[in-house]
Subunit: 148 residues, 2 copies
DNA sequence: TATTGTTATACTCTATAACTATA
DNA sequence: TATAGTTATAGAGTATAACAATA
C-alpha cells in the first residue's frame, strides 16, 4: 500500500466506532430524557421515526432486529409513553407501532443535540472545510466500505 | 439552525454508527479468522495491540471494560492461541496479557482488510478529495463532538 | 401454508461481590 | 489498606421455539 490514505481513514474510523466513543456520545444525547431511552431502545424509537407507523416485524427488518426483540423493547417504550400500539386496519394480524408526541419529541431532541454538538465542534473550521467534510462524509457513508 | 451542515453530518454519522453497519463491517473484516474473534473479543485483541503487554486491569481501563470482563474474554482468546499470559516481573500480583504471533496476525489482517476496503471505495474519488477527507475526518474524530 | 404478535425456554454476557495473593 | 486476578452469583438481554389469530 503505497498510499497511506486508507490506513489514515481506517485508524480514524476505528476510533469513531469504538464502544466507549459511542456510549459516551449516546449518554450525552439522551441525558435527561428518561431511563426508558437507552442504547437498546433508542434504535427502535429512531427507526420508527424514519419508517412512520410500522409493524414490529417490518421495523425489525428495518433496523436489523428480531421481531421478538422489537416487541420487548417496544414494551418498555410503551410503558414510558413514547409509543403506542394501534390495530392495523389493513392487516388484522398486525399491530402498528406509532410514536406518541412524547416519542417524537425525544427523537427530535436527540437529533438536534447531535447537530448542535457538531456545529459547535465545526465552529473553528474554515467554512469551506466544513462544507467539504459534510459532502465527503455523506458520499463515504453512502458508497463506502459498508456495502459488500 | 440556518446552517444545514450540522444536520447533514449528523445524519451521515447516524448511519455510520448504526448497529447493522458496524456488525456487517465487523463480519467482513474478521471472516475466516476463527470463531474466537467476534465483536466481544476483538476490542481486547485490538486494545492489546495498541498497549503492548498489559495487565487485565490496565487493559480494562484502556478499552472501557471491567477487569472481570477482560479476564473472561482473554480466556477465550487464550484458548484460541491468540494471546498468552505471563508473570509480570515488576509486580507479582499482576499477569501480563501478551499477543501471540497468531494474535498479532489477526489484528494486522483486520486492519489491512479495512484499509484495503477503504482504498477500494476511494478509488473513484479525485485524489484531492480523498486526501482532504482523510485529513478532515482525523481532525473531526480528534476534536469532534465526542469530548464533553 | 405462511405470517402476525407475543410468551416461555435456554443460553450468553455482565456487574457485583467475594476470595487469595501481593504492593 | 489497596490492588492484582479470578470465580460465583444474580440480573439483563437475546435467540429459538412455540402458541393462537389472521392472510
Amino acid at each position: 500500500m503505497t498510499n497511506p490514505t486508507g490506513h489514515e481513514i481506517a485508524e480514524a474510523l476505528g476510533l469513531l466506532l469504538r464502544r466507549s466513543t459511542r456510549a459516551g456520545l449516546h449518554a450525552q444525547l439522551t441525558e435527561g430524557l428518561g431511563e426508558a431511552v437507552d442504547e437498546l431502545t433508542y434504535p427502535v424509537l429512531s427507526g420508527l421515526a424514519r419508517t412512520g407507523p410500522c409493524s414490529a416485524a417490518d421495523l425489525g427488518r428495518e433496523v436489523g432486529l428480531d421481531r421478538t426483540t422489537v416487541t420487548r423493547r417496544a414494551d418498555r417504550l410503551e410503558e414510558a409513553g413514547l409509543l403506542r400500539r394501534e390495530a392495523d386496519p389493513g392487516d388484522r394480524r398486525a399491530t402498528l407501532l406509532v410514536l406518541t408526541d412524547a416519542g417524537q419529541g425525544v427523537v427530535r431532541t436527540t437529533r438536534e443535540r447531535l447537530a448542535a454538538r457538531i456545529e459547535d465542534s465545526l465552529a473553528s473550521w474554515p467554512a469551506a472545510d466544513a462544507r467539504a467534510f459534510a459532502r465527503l462524509l455523506r458520499v463515504f457513508v453512502d458508497e463506502g466500505p459498508f456495502h459488500a
